[in-house]
Symmetry: C2
Subunit: 145 residues, 2 copies
């Protein structure tokens, strides 16, 4: 009876973070278990939502050309309406609630400067927003989230 993820699970996850397409048999050799045992572990991790999926990481070429970070200060501390509005904007690909001077960080993607400009304007005019501050993302130095 095991519920908690143990050291072996962590090692499996670590290897999959490096390369999710590695064969199960190779994982098994890495951690010193049989292939079928590893297979069962992965099924458990997936079923328990510890692992929610496997995806491909794309380089800049296939990603949207322009990215920006938008720091947002709310008028009241009720973020729900603003977050909902942001979520309806397809260009808005991420939104975090933060502590400090600003209340939200939104990450925005666009294909052209004009498009980005339009999106930033649209965000700035949303109801419930006091102030915004935008930074164009010049490059992704690294990303291992």
């Amino acid at each position: 009876m095991k519920r908690r993820i143990d050291e072996t699970d962590r090692r499996l996850i670590a290897r999959l973070q490096e390369n999710a397409r590695i064969p199960t048999a190779a994982l098994a050799r890495d951690v010193g278990l049989s292939r079928s045992a590893v297979q069962e572990r992965l099924e458990r991790l997936e079923k328990s939502q510890t692992i929610t999926g496997y995806t491909v990481q794309l380089g800049d070429t296939a990603r949207p050309v322009l990215l920006a970070e938008v720091m947002i200060q709310l008028e009241q501390k009720q973020s729900a309406g603003v977050v909902g509005a942001l979520q309806k904007i397809p260009h808005c690909i991420r939104c975090l609630a933060i502590s400090g001077e600003y209340d939200l960080i939104a990450e925005v993607a666009a294909d052209t400067p004009e498009e980005l400009d339009g999106v930033l304007d649209r965000i700035g005019e949303l109801a419930g927003i006091k102030r915004t501050s935008s930074s164009i993302i010049l490059s992704t130095k690294f990303d291992r989230r």
Copy 2:
């Protein structure tokens, strides 16, 4: 002679975004090519950095408890050294170069407040950094990157 990614490449990428561990043979059936042709396409996409890797997506249970955004102002506009130092810190999971008052945004993950505090201190004391501003991430409102 093909350089640009075509519709088939996009379909392959789309399938891999859903599940990066799907067998190449299944991808081949999906797009109507031979297995070896798909294998060559993937090698091309990887070599051209269109695809940079494959990773596992983790649920909340396995994710770090605490996240923070660190805005970084450099002393000179030479980011290479600082970025390299940040990349060596395992807690630092992402780094973007931006325009504006600050030069870099780093995203930091930690399991405890003490650990986060230590990481932020460590970043603040790196050579080449003039000033930093940190915001704890209270919650991820949405993320569809």
